[in-house]
């Protein structure tokens, strides 16, 4: 936003962003379109788009003059949108975040949301041959770092509703940062899942020709019309635009801040490999599409925390969480699941106290890959003798979501332990296989 001085000035002279203007400063004259102020840079500079297309900033100083020019009459062309084919499977698109469902106004640089399914066909004409986009649902739109369990609950309910009515499958366009949390949450919340639920997003925003959004969305639609009745993430498998992986919702994680192929399966293989031309190769067993009704079981205990053990970490953190009324804690231990044990600041007494007070503590590993183990070292035996629960080969994020969901259903410590150790949605695998590392 412009500085207050500029805003006052513009208001007084009756000029607003988007107007064609002439600016005069120190005898020099500039003509162009006055642009809105970007978030970055100097708010006391007017931004002008020159006829050449370049923007430049003109510092706002005393004596500057600005005059509105007559805007050239722009031919308002509203092109006719292409139509979807009626005979193709129906897919409902939920656009809850990320840039897939938005479009940039190149004149002003503003971003606005696509509301009509047909609008997608301008950028992705291929879609019309893959699926019939039923509708675009926007129960909420937010950056993925701003999502919280309430959003997962809303989403799960809305998705179930659509799956039980017209949709043959659902694609969810989501910000990427916490997509694996949402996919885990939907995996636990959508019971009796009978159709595909595909989360996707983009690591390069969709306003650029090199965006990964298009191929990710196309591949996601192929999965949404397939017979794979699973919740999962469908994103680029490699840095090339060759194919996508459909990753199990409870076994996927974002492993890179910027690369297209950031999402990887952890302790699992991808469910399928999908090419933009529709080829689909399944790589693991999966639940088949059926007619059963999907149930959204969204009860969730929000007072669950995910914390990390590290050298020097203070067990007072655990006491603090307990004092704040937290009902469950997932710890990302080191290696096999260690926490500081014989250290100056041992975590053992605090964990012991939590368990005794009926607050379940689940141990996972910050190595992500591999399984925690209660027996190999003395310190592990000490840790698990407190009553902490082994997270097995679960991702820490998945264990966090699962614990919240389990505690939403029961607060009985023995019941919680039983459920946490039981595979509910593909989150625990009994066998660790050699071909699931670094893929």
């Amino acid at each position: 936003m412009y500085s207050q001085a500029i805003r006052k000035f513009l208001e007084r002279v009756g000029v607003k962003a988007g107007d064609r203007v002439e600016i005069e400063k120190k005898g020099k004259i500039y003509q162009g379109i006055l642009m809105p102020r970007p978030e970055t840079g100097d708010p006391n500079c007017l931004v002008l788009k020159l006829p050449s297309g370049y923007n430049l900033g003109i510092a706002f100083e005393k004596g500057i003059k600005i005059r509105k020019l007559k805007a050239p009459t722009e031919k308002a062309r509203k092109p006719k949108p292409p139509k979807f084919r009626k005979d193709l499977p129906g897919v409902t698109l939920f656009a809850v975040g990320g840039t897939i469902g938005s479009r940039v106004d190149y004149r002003t640089g503003g971003v606005y949301a696509l509301m009509e399914p047909e609008e997608f066909l301008f950028n992705l004409p291929e879609l019309s041959e893959i699926a019939r986009l039923e509708s675009i649902q926007r129960p909420f739109t937010k950056m993925s770092e701003d999502m919280d369990p309430k959003d997962w609950q809303v989403l799960a309910k809305e998705v179930a509703k659509k799956l039980n009515r017209e949709a043959d499958g659902v694609v969810i366009a989501h910000g990427t940062d916490t997509m694996h949390f949402t996919s885990a949450a939907l995996s636990f919340m959508l019971r009796n899942l009978s159709k595909p639920v595909v989360l996707t997003g983009s690591q390069r925003s969709s306003d650029r020709p090199s965006s990964d959004a298009g191929m990710n969305l196309i591949c996601s639609c192929w999965v949404a019309r397939s017979d794979i009745a699973e919740v999962g993430i469908c994103m680029h498998a490699t840095s090339s635009d060759d194919y996508c992986h459909f990753l199990p919702g409870t076994k996927a994680r974002k492993l890179h801040s910027t690369r297209r192929d950031a999402f990887r399966p952890i302790n699992s293989k991808p469910i399928a490999r999908v090419w933009p031309d529709g080829r689909l190769e399944t790589l693991t067993a999966y639940r088949k599409r059926s007619d059963s009704q999907v149930e959204a079981d969204v009860k969730f205990e929000e007072r669950v925390a995910l914390i990390k053990a590290y050298p020097g970490s203070d067990p007072a953190l655990l006491e603090f969480l307990a004092s704040k009324g937290y009902r469950g804690i997932v710890i990302e231990g080191t290696g096999l699941g260690h926490v500081p044990t014989q250290a100056r600041k041992s975590w053992i007494p605090a964990i012991k106290k939590l368990v005794k007070d009926g607050i379940p503590v689940v141990i996972t590993t910050q190595t992500l890959y591999g399984r925690v183990n209660p027996w190999v070292y003395t310190n592990l035996r000490i840790l698990f003798s407190t009553g902490a629960i082994s997270g097995e080969d679960m991702l820490p994020e998945t264990a966090y979501v699962k614990l919240g969901w389990v505690l939403g259903h029961t607060q009985d410590p023995e019941e919680v332990r039983k459920l946490m150790l039981q595979n509910l949605a593909g989150e625990i695998k009994e066998r660790s296989l050699p071909d699931t590392f670094l893929i």
Partner: protein
């Protein structure tokens, strides 16, 4: 013939990449390759052009080769750009100031849509650095429309026909900082065009912050004749070719008009013989939108004023100064000024005659290079040692090439080690004569040989055998 012509010059800058610290050396072999597609993006004027873009892109796949130190995730479009290279920005502003341009208060980095695959992103990052400038030629003033700082595109390495067509690019060139200078269409004759391009080139090289060598500068021409249309000619390789290219193009348009045909607005490619061939239709206005990953850069006025004070001396002025002040030949001065040794020259003349220094830096080095000597290993200090030794008469002028050669072969060597090997009978004789002349009184001693021998040995410092010194000294004493 009456023409209307504007020139566009693209010059690579001598610094690392514009938006990451990768080297712009272009020396490496590619390491791995990825394959990408580009997708159309909606335009400002409805979505009509999207359909055309879609058709074009549907039939193309792009392969990009990555280089170990010359590309990274930024070039691969797998990481947002880092901060704008401040050195490149300073050089671009410097150039804009030398072209008498206005510098905006705030520089905004833009994305210019390019969908031929030469940018992994699908756009070229570019920023307007200067506008409304001018230069003078012997024909008058030529306006400078704009000076932009932008990313160099990736270099095309090959095409494989098919459906889709596979186009391979090298990412080593992608992202090298490039200054684009566009003149107003003020040029009205062929020679003026050549002179304008030459002047711009001279100004660019004067900064000593631009790359030199094949492919580091590219010249495009815009030309129209009365009744004709604007045609853009890309990639004119040399200055001398400019008048010829313009003349051919003017004649081509003229003959089309005479035949009753209207020339089409198009982009043509310059051939080495001055003729041109059709490349593509002239594109519409470039589509630019803000690069939201890079914040705008506020130009501080005091920084700008300081920069104005340290603008480099123009090459033309430098040559004139050397010719007049040091009596260098124009040819030698101009070769030296255009080389990367200009600064070294001004440093070394405190030890030796400027004419000699210039000759060593231009001709002697040229000769050594021809012999296969690795002259790129020679540093300023090596030259300093050589001219110091010369001043102290430890070597003769004729010994300079040999000594430089030894330094190139052994850059860590101390001057004493190298000079000691070079003392032949002639040098010993010279030294003996010098000492005899300096100390005539010693001849009166009972044993003059012994006294002189001590002095000579002290100066020779083991660089010649004692027997040789004794022989020469005896000869000289007996004369």
């Amino acid at each position: 013939m009456k023409i209307k012509c504007g020139i566009e010059i693209h010059q690579q800058l001598l610094t690392h990449k514009l938006f990451c610290p990768c080297s712009s050396g272009m020396h490496e072999k590619p390491q791995l390759e990825i394959v990408r597609r580009l997708r159309p993006v909606p335009g400002e004027l409805g979505d009509v052009d999207v359909a055309a873009q879609y058709e074009f892109l549907r039939n193309r796949v792009f392969a990009y080769k990555h280089y170990p130190n010359e590309s990274c995730l930024v070039e691969l479009d797998e990481e947002p750009p880092h901060q704008l290279n401040p050195e490149a920005l300073e050089t671009a502003v410097m150039i804009a100031l030398m072209l008498n341009c206005d510098i905006p208060d705030e520089i905004h980095i833009m994305r210019k849509i390019v969908i031929d695959g030469s940018d992994t992103t699908g756009f070229q990052r570019t920023a307007l650095i200067g506008m409304n400038g001018w230069i003078k030629t012997s024909f008058g003033k030529v306006g400078i429309k704009s000076v932009c700082l932008e990313e160099e595109s990736a270099q095309i390495l090959g095409r494989k026909a098919g459906k889709p067509e596979l186009v391979t690019y090298g990412l080593n060139r992608f992202g090298i900082p490039l200054v684009e200078i566009g003149t107003q269409p003020d040029i009205t004759n062929f020679e003026e065009a050549r002179e304008t391009a030459e002047k711009l080139g001279m100004i660019l090289r004067s900064t000593q912050r631009v790359k030199t060598g094949l492919g580091t500068i590219r010249q495009d021409l815009n030309i129209s004749i009365p009744g004709g249309v604007r045609v853009e000619i890309k990639g004119v390789q040399s200055l001398s070719l400019i008048p010829k290219v313009l003349e051919f193009e003017a004649k081509r348009q003229e003959s089309l008009l005479k035949a009753g045909e209207k020339p089409r607005p198009e982009v043509r490619k310059a051939n080495p013989d001055g003729t041109t061939e059709f490349l593509r239709p002239l594109p519409g206005a470039a589509r630019l939108y803000p690069e939201t990953d890079c914040p705008p850069v506020r130009i501080d006025r005091s920084w700008l004023d300081a920069l104005k004070l340290k603008l480099p001396e123009l090459l033309d002025e430098k040559i004139k100064r050397w010719v007049e002040g040091y009596k260098l030949s124009w040819e030698l001065a101009s070769q030296l000024a255009r080389s990367d040794k200009a600064g070294l020259f001004e440093y070394l003349i405190q030890w030796a005659d400027p004419k000699l220094v210039a000759n060593v830096l231009v001709n002697v080095l040229k000769g050594l290079k021809r012999e296969g000597v690795g002259i790129e290993k020679l540093e300023a200090r090596h030259f300093r040692f050589v001219f110091e030794a010369l001043r102290e008469e430890r070597i003769a002028k004729e010994g300079i090439p040999e000594l430089l050669k030894k330094f190139a072969e052994n850059p860590q060597a101390r001057i004493e080690e190298l000079v000691s090997e070079t003392l032949g009978p002639e040098e010993v004789k010279r030294l003996v004569k010098k000492i005899l002349k300096e100390k005539p009184e010693l001849r009166e001693l009972r044993n003059p040989f012994q006294a002189y021998m001590g002095l000579v040995m002290k100066q020779v410092r083991g660089r010649a055998p004692g027997s040789l010194i004794a022989k020469i000294l005896k000869e000289e004493l007996s004369e």
